[in-house]
Amino acid sequence: MDPASLLPMLLGLAWLVPLASFAAILFFGPKMGPHGRNAASVATAAIVTSLLLSLAAFGVWLSAHPVTAAAHHGAAGDASAAGAGHADGGGRGSPDGHGAPDGHDGHGGHDGHGDHAAVPVAYSGDWYTLYQGGSLRLSIGWYIDSLTVLMFVVVTFIATCIHVYASGYMHDELHDVTDHEVHVSAGGHLHRPGRFHRFFQALSLFCFSMLGIVIAGNLAMVFIFWELVGISSWFLIGFYFERRSASTAANKAFIVNRVGDFGMLIGLMALWGALGTLHFADGTTVDGAGHTVQRPGLFSLVRPAAGGHALQVPDGMVKFANAAEVARIEAARAGDPRAAAEEIAGRVADWRSAGFGRWLLFIAGVGIFCGCVGKSAQFPLFVWLPDAMEGPTPVSALVHSATMVAAGVYLVGRFYPVLTPDVLLVIAIVGGITLFIAATIALVANDIKRVLAYSTVSQLGYMMLALGVGGWSAGLFHLVTHAFFKSLLFLCSGSVIHACHTNDMRKMGGLARVMPWTAGTMLVGCLAIIGAGVPFVLGLSGYYSKDAILAQALSYSSANPAWSILFYAVAGGAFLTAFYMFRLWFMTFAGEPRDHHIADHAHESPGVMVGPLVVLAVLAVVAGWTLPGGFSLANLLEQARPAGTAATATGGFLFGPLTVPAESLSHEGAIHVTATLTAFATAAAGVLLAAAMYLWRLVSPDMVASMFRPLYTFLAHRWYFDELYDVLFVRPAFAIAGLASGTDRGVIDRLIDGIAWSARQLAGIDAWIDRNIVDGLVNATASATWTAGLELRKLQTGRLRQYVMFIVVGTVALFVLASMLFRASFAG
C-alpha cells in the first residue's frame, strides 16, 4: 500500500465525484424523478462516496504515518537540529507524486518522529498541466499532508450531514412554490416551479470547489477553485433570487469577495513575477532539452533546507527588488552570462541582509491574506457574511462552518511558511479586530441566524489571530472543532426556524420542552463554542482549541509586550462569546414562551433533520479529545506543521523587532495554567451574566439598553459598517455611475441620435434622387430600348429575300468603304 500513489488517487476521486454529480444533475436534473426528487439522492450519494474515500485516505495516512503524542515535544526539543540534520530530508520530505521513490514514505514513517516536525511528510504532484510557458506552469495538482486529509474528512463529513439535512429541509422545492416574500407587480405573491435539483446541483459544485481548494497543489489552482467557491456561493446565497434581499446578498458576497481576491491576485503576481513558480512543493519538470529539472517550490524557496528551514527572503525576490543592480552587472558581464550569474549569486546574500526584497515578500503575504480576509469574512470585509443568511439555512451552515469561511483560514495555514512575522502581526491584528467587532454586534442581534453569523465571524477572528500569533496548529485545530459545533448550531437554528417559521428570538422562548432534541444538541453546541470544560481534566472540543489559542496569544504578548492587547482581545472575546451564545439559548429555549401562537404550533423536527444534529453534537463533544494511544486531531495536525515553524522565529522590519514564539512554548506550565484559568473565568462570567439577564431576569435587558442607548444603537447598527461602506463606496459608485449614464444619455446618445437623424435626412434625399433621377434614367433607357426595339421589329419582316438584300447591300457597302479607306491610306 503506497500512500504516494494511493492518496492522490483516493482524494482525487473524492474530489471529483461531486463534480460528476454536479454534471449529472446539471444535464439530467429535471428528469430525475418527479420534480427532480432524485437529485438529492444523487448528490448525497456522491458526497457520501467522497466521504468514504476520504475516510479511506485517512486510514491510509494513519497506517503510513501513525500519530503519537510524542511528536509535539520531540519537535520542540531539537527543532533547529532536526532542521539542520534533515536538510536533505527536506527535498525528500515533499516527494513528487510522479517520481516519488517508494522508499521515501518508509523513510518518513520509520526514522524518528523528529523528521515529522522538521520536515512535514507531504505528497505533491500534477495530474494535468493546463499551460506551461516560460517559467509559468499552471497545472492541476495535489499537495497532500495530514492537514489535507483531515480537511477532506471534515468537509465531506459536514457536507454529508448537510446534504441529508437539506434533502428534508428543501422539500418545499419539490412542487410549485409560492414565495410569500416576493410581491409581483400584478399583485399577489410570486408563484414559481420548484428548484429542488438546482439546489443540490449548486451544492455539489460547492463541495467540488471546496475540495479543490483543499487538495490544490499550487496557488494558481487554489485561485481557480477560490473563484469557483465564490460563484457557487453566489448560486446558493441567491437561491431565492426572486427576493431582492437574496439577490443583493449574493451580489454583495461575491463583490466583497472580489475585493479580497484582487489583493490575492496582487500576491500571486508578486510571487510569480519574483519566484516564477506558484507550486507549494518542489517538483520536477521536463524542459525542452528533454531532461528533468528540479524545480524548487515556494516553501523550499522561502525556507531553504540549507538554512535549516529558517525564513529568508528568496533570492528571486532579492534580485527582483534590486533589478537595477542585476541589470548593471549583467550589462557589465555581457560577454559570458555564467560569470554574471555567479557574481550575482555571490552578492545576493549582501543584498538580502541589506533588506532588498523583504517588502516584496511582505506584499505577497499580505496579498494572499487579503484573499483570505474576503473569503473568511475578516475585518473590514466581513459585512457579506450576515447577509449571506438570505440563503437557505443548510447553505448558511455549509458556508459558515466548513467550507467557504474555512477556506480562508485553511489557505493561511497552508501558506504559513511564507508569511513573515510582520505579515503574521497584520493577520493577528485583523483577526483581533474582527473577533471583537463581531462579538459586540452579536450581543444585540435578535435574529437567531445573525447571532450565529456574527459568532462565526468572531470565531474566524479567533483563528486568524491564533495563526497570526504563531499558533499554527491552534488556529487550524480551532477551525476543525469550530466546523463541528458551528454547523451543529446552524442546523439547530434551522430546525428552530423550521418549527417557528421566524428568525426573531424575541418571539421565541420556552421551546425546550417542545423540541427537546434540538434544545439539547444546541446546548451542547453552545457549551462547545464557549470552550466549556473542567480545567485540566476534560472538556468539549472548544475547550482544547480555545485554550490553545489563549495560551499562544499569552505567550506572544509576553514575548512582545507591545502587542499584549491581542491577549486581552482574545480574553474579552471569550467572555462576549459566552454571553451572547447563552443569551441566544436562554431567549430561545428557556423561560416562558413569549408568543404562544408560535410555541403551540412549534414541533420537533423530523428525524432526517435531528439525526445529523445528534451526530454533530457527539462530534462537537469528542473532537478535541486525545485517545490513550496519543492520537488526537491536534497531534495529527502537528504532522503537517510546516518545516521551520516549530522553532521560535524572530524578525520584522515594519513594526519593529517581533518574536513569534514557538507553539510548543505555549504548553509550558505557567502560560498554560494562566490561559486555562483565564478562559474558564471569562466563559463562566459570560454565562452567568447571560443567565442573570435572560434567565433569572435580575437585570432587565431593556434597562441596560436604555442605559447605554448610544452604544446599543451603535452596536445594533453593526457599527454602521454597512452605512459607512454605503457612504464610502456604494454612493460614490452610484454617483459616478449616474454621472456616466447621464453623460451617456445626455451627450453621447444625443450626439448619436443627431447623427442618425441627419443620416436619415441625407438618406431621404438620396432616396428621392434614386427614385426620381436614377430610376427615371434607368426607366427612360429601358423604355427607349423598348420603343426602339418595337420600331426595329418592323425591320424584321420575316422575308428571306429582303434579308438577302440587306446582306448584299451591306457587303457592297463594306467593299466600297474599304476600298475608299484603302485609297486614303495610299494617299496618306
Binding site: 426607366n779 429601358a782 421589329r793 429575300r801 457592297v812
Partner: protein, 227 residues
C-alpha cells in the same frame, strides 16, 4: 507551198476556246436560272451551269474536283429537281411570280455586287498574267493522300522547304460524320407526320399579329414609373 489556212486562225488557242465555251454555258445558264420562272426549268438550267462549271474545273486541271462536282452537285441537284417536280407538278406553284419592283431592285443590287466583284477580280495585275508554263500534275492521288493526312503534292513557292503542311484527315472525318448526321436529320425532318397537317387557313389564323401583341405587352418604363 501556200498554207491552207489564213494566219489569223492559226493563232486559235483551244484552251481559251473551250474555256470560253464552258464559261459562256455556265454564266448564261446561271442567268437563265435567275430569269426562269418555272422551277423545273430553273433546275435544268442549274444542272447545265453546274456541268459547265465542272468542265471549267477540268480545264483548270482539277479533274477530281470536276468529277466530284458532276457526281455530288449534279446528284444533289437531281434530288432538287425531283422535289421541284413533285411539289410543283400540280398546278399552282409551277411559277410563283415576283413583283417587277423586286426584280428591278434585285437587278440593281446584283449589278452593284457584280461591279464590286469584277473590279476586285481585275485589280490584281498578277491575276491577269497567265502562267501556262507549269506542267499540270494529276491531282487525284495527292488529294487522296491529303485526305489520308499525308501531303505529297509540291509545296507552293515561297513556303519554307521544312514547313509542316497539315493533311485533311480530321476535316475528312468531320465531314463524314456531318454527312451522316445530315442524313439522319433530313430523314427525321421529312418523315411523314402522323397528325393531320394543318391547312394554310389554320396557319393564317394562328399567326400572331405582332402589333396587337405589342399592345398586350407591358412597357417596363411604365412599370418603373408606377413603382
Amino acid at each position: 507551198m501556200m498554207p491552207l489556212l489564213a494566219p489569223p486562225l492559226a493563232a486559235i488557242n483551244w484552251h481559251s476556246v473551250l474555256f470560253l465555251l464552258f464559261a459562256a454555258a455556265a454564266c448564261s445558264c446561271a442567268v437563265a436560272v435567275v430569269l426562269a420562272d418555272n422551277v423545273v426549268r430553273m433546275a435544268f438550267y442549274l444542272v447545265l451551269s453546274l456541268a459547265a462549271t465542272a468542265g471549267l474545273f477540268f480545264l483548270a486541271g482539277a479533274e477530281f474536283v470536276g468529277a466530284m462536282q458532276l457526281m455530288i452537285y449534279v446528284g444533289g441537284t437531281l434530288v432538287l429537281l425531283v422535289f421541284g417536280v413533285m411539289l410543283t407538278a400540280q398546278a399552282p406553284f409551277v411559277s410563283i411570280k415576283t413583283s417587277a419592283g423586286d426584280r428591278v431592285l434585285a437587278g440593281m443590287v446584283g449589278a452593284a455586287l457584280l461591279a464590286v466583284l469584277l473590279q476586285a477580280a481585275f485589280r490584281v495585275e498578277s491575276w491577269r498574267r497567265p502562267a501556262l508554263a507549269a506542267e499540270p500534275a494529276p491531282t487525284a492521288t495527292p488529294i487522296g493522300m491529303a485526305l489520308l493526312g499525308v501531303r505529297v503534292d509540291a509545296p507552293a513557292d515561297g513556303t519554307p522547304p521544312d514547313a509542316v503542311r497539315s493533311g485533311y484527315l480530321l476535316p475528312f472525318e468531320i465531314v463524314s460524320v456531318h454527312l451522316l448526321v445530315v442524313l439522319v436529320g433530313a430523314a427525321y425532318l421529312a418523315r411523314a407526320k402522323r397528325r393531320r397537317t394543318p391547312r394554310s387557313i389554320d396557319v393564317a389564323a394562328s399567326t400572331v399579329v405582332p402589333d396587337a401583341a405589342a399592345g398586350a405587352w407591358e412597357r417596363p418604363g411604365a412599370a418603373g414609373v408606377r413603382r
